[in-house]
Each structure stands twice: as structure tokens, then as C-alpha cells.
């Protein structure tokens, strides 16, 4: 590493040399020789800074900004500029629904037998992010719930567009219709920071050996919403492996799995079988009753029910893969969600839409809980 010298050190050494090797003897203030040496010393000091900076920018560990971009370009890499995805209706994440009557009572369509949620309908999250329905959703007149495709209105918000389960609760249509996102939405990615970029460049050096473990990891982590991956060797016999993608939320959009599969297939050698899958989804539904005592306003009770529902939904969403559903935890968070609640009783627990004994439920190592999407009201609070 370059040892930096200050201008005073450089000048002192220069003046000592002049004193020893020339006839110049006047080095006080106002000396021409001193002024010349000091002026050059100041320039040389700034040159030391410049050399130090440029040396540091030639190394991957210390380079930043455009210098890091230059290093990356030697490996054919470029910085991710951030992006924004969308969630499709088939992913069953965002839905409009009614608790009384039918959807078509409030959202009519072009035909009397169908209703419609038009494209461009805005949905607002409690975090201040606006989403838009990207494709018109037509539903039969008898439907009480319909899944929709959505994307953030502003593509420049980055990870701020990511919202937790239940955060999307207002929309621009008839107020009698409700909206919800039953899972966390992770659609936005920020522009790659220097640290992230540096890590990717260093991994790329290993990943260039096609089919290496690092290459597989890098391919899988190129997409948003991936929390971790687990590689199960020889899952389908010799010469095979399975990639279990662990999502940041309960359910990975199908297109992400497809993208990862395509990306991994590019780097896996011929003859090797590889399967990519997400965790096994274990749908759960609950019926919970709350006791708020006699009297009280109906609105207060409705609010309390909604709060309990949101808290339970958040709790289920936070249980990791292979985790355990603990009923006492549900009782605890439900009681804490609203001070007016005196007691709580879990009346029904359903797994895979089948009633279970009301007891804690442990997942297998590749399973993850999700709110049941086959039921109109998977978390019912009465």
C-alpha cells in the first residue's frame, strides 16, 4: 500500500536536500527556493491522494461507483438497475370480495350475467403505495370474490412497492366491495448497491465454471422474492439434484420458478437432471370467536374482528418453512390486537381444507403455511 506523505514532509525533505547540495542558504519566509519547493510539495501531496484513490479503485474489494462498473465490464456484467414485477390473477394473491351479497350487485359488467373489475382500477396500500389492476377481471354474476392481476402504478419506487399481507385495503371502486392481498407482495427491487454488485462480481469469477454450486446459487438469486435456496443432491438418482426455492413470502409467483428453471438449465451440463420447485404449500383456515362483552358499538366490534383477522394473517405469513403453528400464539396476538377483546376461542382449524384436531401443527422441512385460497373467508372471526 502506498504510504502517503504530507506536503510539509515533502517540503522539509526537499529543503534539506537543497541545503546540503546547493549554495542556496536562505530558506526563511519570502525565500524563492522555499516557495518553489512548498508549491511543488502541495501538488505532490494531492498526487499522492490521487494515486491512492486510483489504486483503491483498481481492486474489487475497494472499488466503487463507475470504477466498479469498469471492473464488472471485464467479466461481461452490468449493474442491475432495479425493476418492478407484477402479480397475476392465477397466483391468487390480490382479490376483491364482498361479505354480504354478490360482487355483481356493486360491480356490474357489460352483460347482466357477468360483472367486471376494469383494468386501471387503483388499489391503495396502508404504506402509501398505489397498485393498479393490470387486466380487466370478468366474473360470473354469482361470484362473491375475484382474483386480479396487479402491478405498482409507479415503477420507480423500488422495494418500497413491497407490501406485507393485508396492507392493501382500499380501492377506487364501490366502497361496499373490499380488497385484500392475502400474501406479502415482493415485486420491486432497488438498483444494485456497490456491496451487492461487488459480491456478484466475486461470485461470477467462480460461477464462470459452468455448473458450479456458486453458478447455481447466482442463477437462482437473480430474481426478486427469493429468500434462500436449498439444494438436494441426487434427489432423482445419480446425476440429478433439486433446487428448493425458499420464497420471502408464502407463495412464489409461478413465473419466478419458471425463470429460475430456465436460468439454471443454461448452466447445468448436458445429462444432468435438475428440478426447481417452491415449498409445498399447506393451506390453513381458521374460525375464531371473540368475546367483547355486552353492549358496545357494532362498528367497534367490526373493527376488532378486522384487526384480529389481520394479525392472524400476518402471524401465519411469518411462520418459516418447516415451522409450527402455535395456537397459544394466535390467542396472544389476537388479544393484544384490540384492548376491547376479553376472550378468544379457536373454534375450528383446517389444514388442506379439512378440519383438524385443534392443536399445534408442525410442518415438514419443505412445507410452508399459506392462507387457504379455496375458501371465500379462510380466516373467519365471529
Amino acid at each position: 500500500m502506498l504510504e502517503k506523505r504530507l506536503s510539509t514532509q515533502i517540503a522539509a525533505r526537499g529543503l534539506r536536500n537543497l541545503q546540503a547540495n546547493s549554495n542556496i542558504t536562505f530558506f526563511g519566509s519570502g525565500s524563492i527556493a522555499k516557495i518553489l519547493v512548498e508549491t511543488m510539495a502541495i501538488e505532490i501531496e494531492s498526487l499522492y491522494d490521487s494515486i491512492d484513490l486510483n489504486l483503491s479503485q483498481t481492486r474489487l474489494q475497494t472499488a466503487s461507483g463507475v470504477f466498479l462498473d469498469l471492473i464488472a465490464s471485464q467479466f461481461g456484467l452490468s449493474r442491475f438497475s432495479g425493476g418492478m414485477g407484477s402479480v397475476q390473477a392465477r397466483d391468487k394473491v390480490v382479490r376483491f370480495f364482498v361479505t354480504r351479497g354478490r360482487l355483481s350487485d356493486f360491480l356490474g359488467g357489460s352483460s347482466p350475467t357477468r360483472g367486471e373489475i376494469p383494468a386501471g382500477t387503483e388499489i391503495y396500500s396502508s404504506t402509501g403505495i398505489t397498485y393498479e389492476v393490470t387486466a380487466s377481471a370478468v366474473f360470473p354474476a354469482t361470484a362473491t370474490s375475484v382474483w386480479v392481476s396487479v402491478a405498482p402504478s409507479d415503477v420507480a419506487v423500488g422495494t418500497r412497492a413491497n407490501v406485507p399481507a393485508g396492507a392493501m385495503n382500499r380501492h377506487s371502486l364501490n366502497a361496499s366491495v373490499q380488497v385484500e392481498n392475502i400474501a406479502t407482495l415482493i415485486l420491486g427491487t432497488n438498483a444494485e448497491t456497490d456491496d451487492e454488485y461487488r459480491l456478484r462480481i466475486s461470485q461470477h469469477i467462480n460461477a464462470r465454471v459452468s455448473g458450479s454450486r456458486t453458478a447455481v446459487f447466482q442463477a437462482a438469486f437473480s430474481f426478486p422474492g427469493v429468500s434462500d435456496i436449498r439444494i438436494n443432491n441426487f434427489r432423482y438418482g445419480a446425476g440429478s439434484f433439486e433446487i428448493l426455492v425458499i420464497p420471502s413470502t408464502a407463495r412464489l409467483p409461478n413465473n419466478i420458478i419458471e425463470h429460475i428453471r430456465t436460468e439454471v438449465s443454461r448452466i447445468v451440463p448436458f445429462g444432468i437432471r435438475v428440478e426447481v420447485r417452491g415449498p409445498e404449500i399447506v393451506p390453513v383456515n381458521l374460525v375464531v370467536s371473540i368475546d367483547m362483552g355486552e353492549g358496545g358499538l357494532g362498528e367497534t366490534k367490526d373493527l376488532a374482528r378486522e384487526q384480529v383477522k389481520q394479525e392472524i394473517r400476518s402471524y401465519i405469513g411469518e411462520i418459516p418453512m418447516g415451522g409450527e403453528l402455535i395456537l397459544n400464539r394466535i390467542r396472544s396476538i389476537a388479544l393484544q390486537s384490540n384492548s376491547a377483546i376479553k376472550d378468544i376461542n379457536i373454534q375450528q382449524l383446517g389444514i388442506h381444507c379439512r378440519p383438524q384436531v385443534i392443536a399445534n401443527y408442525s410442518l415438514r422441512s419443505d412445507e410452508i403455511f399459506d392462507i387457504s385460497r379455496k375458501l371465500a373467508e379462510p380466516i373467519m372471526v365471529v
Partner: protein, 154 residues
């Protein structure tokens, strides 16, 4: 009476380095060295030298002042203080006079007497300059309307 024996790189009155007949940087005589140093002090304002921000007589600070006796006394005091502080000349044998020559201009005259080493002499003798026009004599014109001091070259 002070003894002056130190030598510096020689520059012209315009500030250019002088090259001798052998193509080398010329070393100034002690007499010339003191003259150059006085020039540097007078022509430099405080803050102009990055390595020594406090160096300079700061004559520009009299820009816009009235060309009257009180101002001249302040200028003389300021110059003598700076020359003394830098240790360039012996104050007791240095005369400084600021004399008005126009309504908005004054001349600054500096005269330093003393014993100066004669570098031409092989014996290392000192030459004694004590007469009125001997020793180091520097003159400058200071226009109060611009505040930019100019040396009078011969």
C-alpha cells in the same frame, strides 16, 4: 548593524528565475536576496501563499482608503511589522516612507542598510552599506483606487 550573508535563487523584478552563463539557476547575492524577499512581502497578501497563509504585508487592505498622512502611517507600521515578524531585515536600520505622488497614489520607499557579504570576493569580505542610497533600496507605487501594488523597476 546587521550582517546579511544568506543567498537565495535569483529572480528578475518580474519574478522570472535567472539563468547564469553556464545554463544553471543563478544564486543571488545577499544584497539581491534581501531585495527579493522584501518584494515578496510587499507584493503578497495574506492567504495567497497556501503553504504560509499568514505571510504577506497585506497592502491590498488599504484599497479605497484616503491618501492622507494617517493612512501612510498605518501602511508604514504594517510593512515594518511584517518585515520584522518574518526576520528578513533589521528594523533599526530599515527606513520605510510612504509619500503621496498623486491624489490617489502613493510611493512606498524601503531602504535597508547593513553589512552584506560580498560573494564576488574570494576572501569572503563584507561590504558595509550605510549611506543614504546604499544597501537595499526598493520602491513601489500604490494606487488607492485599485489596491494593486506595483514595483518601480530601474
Amino acid at each position: 548593524m546587521a550582517i546579511y550573508a544568506l543567498q537565495d535563487i535569483e529572480v528578475t523584478d518580474d519574478g522570472d528565475i535567472v539563468i547564469d552563463e553556464f545554463g544553471e539557476i543563478k544564486i543571488a547575492s545577499p544584497l539581491r536576496t534581501v531585495a527579493q524577499a522584501i518584494d515578496w512581502v510587499l507584493l503578497t497578501n495574506k492567504g495567497e501563499l497556501v503553504a504560509e497563509p499568514s505571510f504577506g504585508a497585506n497592502i491590498q487592505s488599504f484599497y479605497g482608503d484616503s491618501n492622507i498622512g494617517t493612512t501612510h502611517q498605518f501602511m508604514e507600521a504594517s510593512i515594518i511589522q511584517e518585515l520584522g515578524m518574518q526576520g528578513l531585515v533589521e528594523i533599526e536600520s530599515t527606513d520605510i516612507d510612504v509619500v503621496p505622488i498623486e491624489t490617489d497614489e502613493a510611493t512606498i520607499l524601503i531602504h535597508t542598510k547593513g553589512n552584506f557579504l560580498d560573494t564576488e570576493s574570494e576572501t569572503g569580505a563584507f561590504t558595509r552599506f550605510i549611506d543614504q542610497f546604499d544597501g537595499v533600496v526598493r520602491a513601489y507605487i500604490y494606487p488607492f483606487t485599485s489596491g494593486t501594488i506595483k514595483p518601480i523597476t530601474t
